[in-house]
């Protein structure tokens, strides 16, 4: 398992960081923002004002470190549902993402034109097939993009994950499979998921597989940058397994106390990627209480503004059910739309 950053914030022997001071602070900023959104969304959900939320908590280095290897102008993200800061960095405005979970108008919350992000994917591993097709299609058209496809170690058990990776190998599609092994699929532990090592599957598909410390921003960034460079150079896909820990519940409907072994969470919390990156910044002499407070305040303001913007968005309307299902809707569906609108107007 590749690691660059020690828990105390120092680099491993001979380790070398590819991120300059500004980028390190940018990364920390995304990570703090993500952590804050998790807290805010959870609170809103408890108040009945937010849909199901799946926190990124604990996995911020994996998400942010991989996303920062991408160029939003040409590269694409095929997300699962636990990659919020990656999407925001890539150009999907935070208020839209929040608004979507708050039942705001789908027109107001959809992915903006020109933002290279696919919709969140709940049907596990299905997005990997789309990612491969998209990457292959870009390549066929001589366009420069690389697709970063996120999935969990649970999703990796689905047939779609195999079919997608095998096809990617055959077509040398410019795609990076970013497997976030956070040790849990709801209550199912990593051992129940597979008897093998996830990153080793790549070899069977004829491309490189690497395992990195997913709580080490520098290691994730390094692996992702290399993979993106390879993909861009026409050298095909890479599977990156980020070994990390889910530090929160699976989602807001879950109660991990029912199944986490005693002490597991406490041990996992020692690996929290945020203090580790802060320690690194401090080790580099770039960090102090003041800097931290300033960044936290900035992030808090941004999140609050996004929440307010989301609340101010127009609500969903009945016709939203119909308006973007078909480009050319069948007559029967048109009639059903009319029927609904009439029905809604009746007392």
């Amino acid at each position: 398992m590749r690691r660059l950053l020690q828990p105390d914030g120092s680099l491993v022997e001979g380790g070398c960081s590819r991120l300059g001071p500004e980028q390190l602070v940018e990364a920390l900023r995304w990570m703090l923002l993500s952590r804050l959104v998790d807290a805010r969304a959870t609170a809103l959900q408890r108040q009945g004002r937010f849909g199901t939320h799946s926190p990124v908590k604990g996995q911020e280095a994996s998400v942010v470190g991989s996303a920062m290897a991408l160029d939003p102008a040409v590269d694409w993200i095929a997300p699962s549902y636990r990659e919020l800061p990656a999407l925001v960095r890539h150009g999907y405005p935070l208020e839209r993402i929040l608004g979507r979970s708050m039942g705001r108008s789908p027109a107001a919350t959809r992915i903006p034109d020109g933002v290279n992000v696919l919709p969140n994917q709940v049907a596990l591993a299905t997005q990997l097939q789309h990612a491969v097709g998209l990457a292959w299609g870009l390549r066929l058209q001589g366009r420069p993009g690389v697709v970063m496809a996120y999935f969990g170690e649970g999703a990796a058990s689905e047939g779609d994950s195999h079919e997608a990776m095998n096809l990617a190998g055959v077509r040398r599609a410019p795609v990076v499979f970013l497997l976030m092994n956070n040790q849990w699929a709801i209550s199912t532990s990593r051992e129940v998921q597979s008897a093998g090592q996830f990153f080793r599957r790549a070899e069977g598909y004829g491309f490189a597989g690497v395992q990195v410390d997913g709580n080490d921003l520098l290691a994730v960034f390094e692996a992702a940058t290399d993979a993106v460079a390879r993909a861009r150079a026409g050298e095909g896909p890479t599977l990156i397994e980020c070994v990390t820990y889910r530090l929160s519940f699976h989602n807001t409907t879950d109660n991990p106390r029912r199944y986490l072994p005693p002490g597991w969470l406490e041990r996992a919390e020692c690996e929290d990627p945020i203090p580790r990156l802060e320690a690194h910044l401090a080790w580099l002499g770039l960090w102090d209480q003041g800097a931290r407070a300033a960044l936290e305040a900035e992030v808090a303001e941004e999140v609050e503004a996004a929440v307010q913007a989301a609340l101010a968005m127009p609500p969903s309307r009945p016709e939203d059910l119909f308006d973007q299902v078909y480009a050319l809707p069948p007559e029967r569906v048109r009639r059903q739309r009319q029927e609904l609108l009439q029905h809604v107007q009746e007392p």
């Binding site: 849909g51 199901t52 979507r100 039942g103 705001r104 789908p106 709940v122 049907a123 596990l124 649970g154 999703a155 990796a156 058990s157 689905e158 047939g159 779609d160 699929a185 709801i186 209550s187 199912t188 129940v192 998921q193 597979s194 409907t253 029912r258 199944y259 609500p315 969903s316 009945p318 939203d320 059910l321 119909f322 299902v325 069948p330 029967r332 569906v333 059903q336 739309r337 609904l340 029905h343 809604v344 009746e346």
Partner: protein, 325 residues
Amino acid sequence: MAERNIVEAIRDGLAFEMERDPRVLVLGLDVGRLGGVFRATEGLLERFGPDRVVDMPLAEGAIVGSSVGLALSGLVPVAEIQFLGFTHQAFQQIGPQLARYRARSYGRFGCQVTIRAPSGGGVRTPEFHPDSIEAQFVQTPGIKVACPATPADARGLLLSAIRDPDPVLFVEPQRLYRQGREEVPEGDVVVPFGRLRVARPGTDVTLVAWSAAVELCLRAAERLAGEGISAEVLDLRTLVPLDVEGLTAAVARTGRAVVVQEAPLSAGFGAEVAATLQEECFFSLDAPVARVAAWDVPYPAASLEGWYLPTVRRVVGAARRTVSV
């Protein structure tokens, strides 16, 4: 007898069958320590151990496909698919394999397998979780389809399902899981397949439903009663076998029927009910068989589901129109 809601009745039914028949085992996602995302298998791991209550890798095809194999080995698997919408991930193993294994082997191998899956909307679940795709399984002969709507039926039909030598898809109404308790027998009380239930008697119009839509029809019947319309509510209980006789006899009595389904209109099981009714009691019908369904669009985000699903108002409207023909 004890007061139980649907989840409790299912849990109790599972435990009863596991106690009764050592061949029965439960497998699925998160069915062990967690007790299932709806707690339907809560306590079973502690009681029956990890060989009979098995957390599976995250692959619906493997859950169903290995259940076929477990059945071939002589065991009686009860598989849980976390939500009916995710049976699509296992479709190649359900209709063409599980359902047909007896036919494929001309009786050499049967598959005594039950697939349990929560289904239906109205509880603000994420995408794919609320999809009502039960009609798709009626098109794959060899598998039976049970859709209980009450705690007593949930337990009684579950016992029938597990004991049935044929494979059964057991669709559970997630919206009703914890909505209301009723007396549920604790012993060996089965509810047979293929016999509908009169959920509420009536004389002017017959409302036909299954799963959570039965509850909707009961509310509509209540409202209709206030308008002086006596609506009978039929709960089909099983779609395969379909109680054609019971259905046509009941509708022949009122001469008017409204079929209510949570699935989108087109090619839903409501179409089969309407087609069958007009075939079997055409000359007793005073009005066309009406259908109330979700629209022919995908299940929407939570904020839109109230406009998507059939409502009491739409059922009442259809019943009113049917009665006034």
